[in-house]
């Protein structure tokens, strides 16, 4: 499949000395462009590891990872930053915003990394922050933003980069229920509108209804793959 993510017999084993932990086991999965997928499962089920392998942050132990037709699992380490730059944006549980940069600057820096500069970058950063409802908070530092606002900056950063794939790991874990829901609905709306391939790892089952496709992981395997009828 050339438009999206294709995993074939993916396995990831963590080995430390004699201890070997199979975090992901023989996963076959395809996620198409425009799909917003919720990856559910308890702690330790392998959600974060799966996300990390898809995002070319961890290398698989076995199996293949194809991103928009490119086989990435056999690439050299030095080639992975380019793959990430081209295909991926990330949203993290801890937001990971630069505390010394304003909301605007946190978005703009990603654009700079993608090679977008000057007036074009300025326009895009402002548009994204406005679209997530932070037009009046652009010059605020993260310390002056609430948790929900920080996560919205994170979303704006992910969307501004215009990467085809967005991976989010527990994006609502540090937010209250109302804010968490608001942030997820916003992400889902944008992702569908812009035809992004989105995978959200979460253990919050109250958010299930937001996703059109739900994967459930347990002990490193995908045990359920449900698509909601529209």
């Amino acid at each position: 499949m050339d438009n999206g993510i294709a995993l074939t017999n993916l396995t990831k084993v963590y080995a430390e000395g004699r201890i070997r932990v199979k975090a992901v086991s023989s996963v076959d999965l395809q996620i198409e462009e425009g799909e917003v997928v919720g990856l559910f499962g308890p702690s330790g089920s392998g959600k974060t590891t799966l996300l990390s392998v898809i995002g070319c942050i961890l290398r698989p132990t076995e199996g293949s990872v194809r991103i928009y037709g490119t086989e990435v699992s056999s690439l050299d380490e030095t080639q992975l930053p380019q793959i990430r730059k081209k295909y991926f944006s990330f949203i993290f549980q801890g937001f990971n915003l630069f505390p010394s940069l304003t909301a605007y600057e946190n978005v703009a820096i990603v654009l700079k990394l993608k090679g977008i500069k000057g007036a074009q970058a300025d326009k895009r950063a402002r548009e994204m922050l406005t679209s997530v409802g932070l037009s009046d908070r652009m010059q605020f530092l993260p310390r002056d933003l609430s948790g929900g606002q920080k996560q919205r900056v994170s979303i704006a950063r992910a969307l501004a980069a215009d990467s085809p794939i967005i991976l989010a790991d527990e994006p609502t874990a540090n937010l209250d229920q109302a804010n968490g829901r608001r942030v997820m609905e916003m992400l889902e709306t944008f992702a569908v509108r812009q035809k992004k391939c989105v995978v959200v790892a979460t253990h919050d089952s109250r958010l299930e209804d937001i996703f059109r496709r739900i994967l459930t992981m347990e002990d490193g395997r995908i045990i359920k793959d449900r698509r909601k009828s529209l």
């Binding site: 990390s52 942050i57 990430r84 730059k85 990330f90 990971n96 010394s100 600057e105 990394l113 993608k114």
Partner: protein
């Protein structure tokens, strides 16, 4: 990434201030050490450097300018009669004792020179004429000597080696590395004052080479002709004198050690603060890596911090050093601020700050973006 580096520094104001203090401490100390060292060295050879002539004939195994032994005066005629020599002159440098106004004595360095030519005598006069020491018991005192000898004016009488000399001039810019006051008198007077030199001896013979003649060639001729002496070019004798004080007294080692310690402390402080900043921002740097930044993008942030600290720290240190020259001079310490020293210290500052950033570079290299997925 330059912008990100600046923002990080402005955000962490206290840390940035401490880093800057570390750089200023190290660089200011280095400026002071180098400046004082050069000042001391220039002082040690100041008479040689300001005396016209190209060649210095000294006693055999002469250690430096201040500690030469008498040599026969006939050597002067031998030097004068050598091909390639335009003129020659005798100069006496020796030690004596001056009686203090309030009682007690002080050691002084006596310079005896030819008042008609001025060779070997003071090159800058604050008051009086350097020819005035001729034909009598006269002396010129350098203004730097006032600290040790008390205020002295033209017309005052001072007893040197139990002989009353009248002060006929105040010179400027003459000091000895030994800090002993320097007194100028005529060459003949110096011979009369110092018994163990006597009427038939001198201490140095200075020669001037004819235009178009090679100094080294003339020196070689003199070495074949003269016995029992050492012969130097002006530059090599000046260097020998400086090296003596640098090496034999341990002064050079002491200054070098202080400079090295400054470098070490500066590197430590800058390295520590940049490293702490890096560790504090490790998740953000990891985020940049996850988003496709290369290590080199992040190195730019680290090195920019180091360079900005180096530049600002250097400029402030230079300002402090220039402002403190007057204070040093008031304390009687010669400190030299020269363009080449400024450039050297700038390079030193950059090396210090950039090398201190390497500890953080190693940390950046090892960042695993997977840490972003762990709380």
């Amino acid at each position: 990434m330059f912008f990100v580096a600046l923002k990080i520094m402005l955000y962490d104001k206290v840390r940035s201030f401490i880093t800057l203090l570390g750089v200023i401490f190290a660089v200011s100390l280095t400026f002071a050490q180098i400046g004082i060292y050069i000042g001391l060295m220039e002082t040690s050879s100041v008479v040689i450097d300001n005396t016209p002539g190209d060649i210095w004939v000294t006693s055999r195994n002469c250690k430096n300018f201040d500690f030469s032994q008498p040599i026969p005066e006939y050597l002067y005629y031998q030097v004068l009669g050598t091909k390639g020599i335009q003129w020659a002159e005798n100069v006496i440098i020796t030690w004596g004792i001056i009686k203090q106004k309030e009682g007690g004595t002080e050691q002084v360095e006596i310079v005896g020179y030819n008042p008609d030519t001025g060779i070997g005598g003071p090159w800058s006069m604050k008051a009086g004429d350097r020819r005035a020491v001729k034909n009598g018991n006269f002396a010129i005192v350098d203004e730097s000597a006032m600290r040790r000898l008390g205020n002295t004016s033209i017309g005052d009488y001072r007893e040197v080696l139990w002989r009353r000399l009248q002060v006929v001039g105040i010179s400027r810019g003459v000091k000895s590395f030994t800090t002993a006051p320097i007194i100028f008198t005529s060459y003949r007077q110096a011979q009369r004052l110092v018994n163990w030199i006597g009427p038939d001896n001198t201490v140095f013979v200075i020669g001037k080479v004819l235009p178009g003649w090679s100094v080294n060639t003339v020196i070689q001729s003199l070495k074949k002709k003269l016995n029992g002496v050492d012969i130097y070019s002006k530059k090599s004798f000046s260097t020998k004198t400086r090296l003596y004080w640098t090496i034999e007294t341990g002064v050079g080692f002491s200054f070098l050690l202080t400079i090295l310690i400054s470098f070490f402390i500066g590197t430590l402080i800058v390295g520590q603060t940049i490293y702490n900043s890096t560790v504090e921002h490790i998740r953000e740097f990891g985020t940049l890596k996850a988003l496709g930044a290369n290590n080199s993008d992040i190195y730019q942030i680290i090195f920019t911090q180091a360079i900005v600290n180096a530049l600002i720290g250097y400029l402030l240190s230079l300002g402090i050093t220039i402002a403190s020259v007057r204070i040093y001079e008031a304390l009687g310490i010669a400190i030299v601020v020269r363009t080449w020293v400024n450039v050297l210290v700038l390079i030193f500052t950059f090396i210090m700050c950039l090398s201190s950033a390497f500890v953080s570079i190693r940390k950046i290299k090892k960042i695993d973006p997977a840490i972003l997925f762990r709380e």
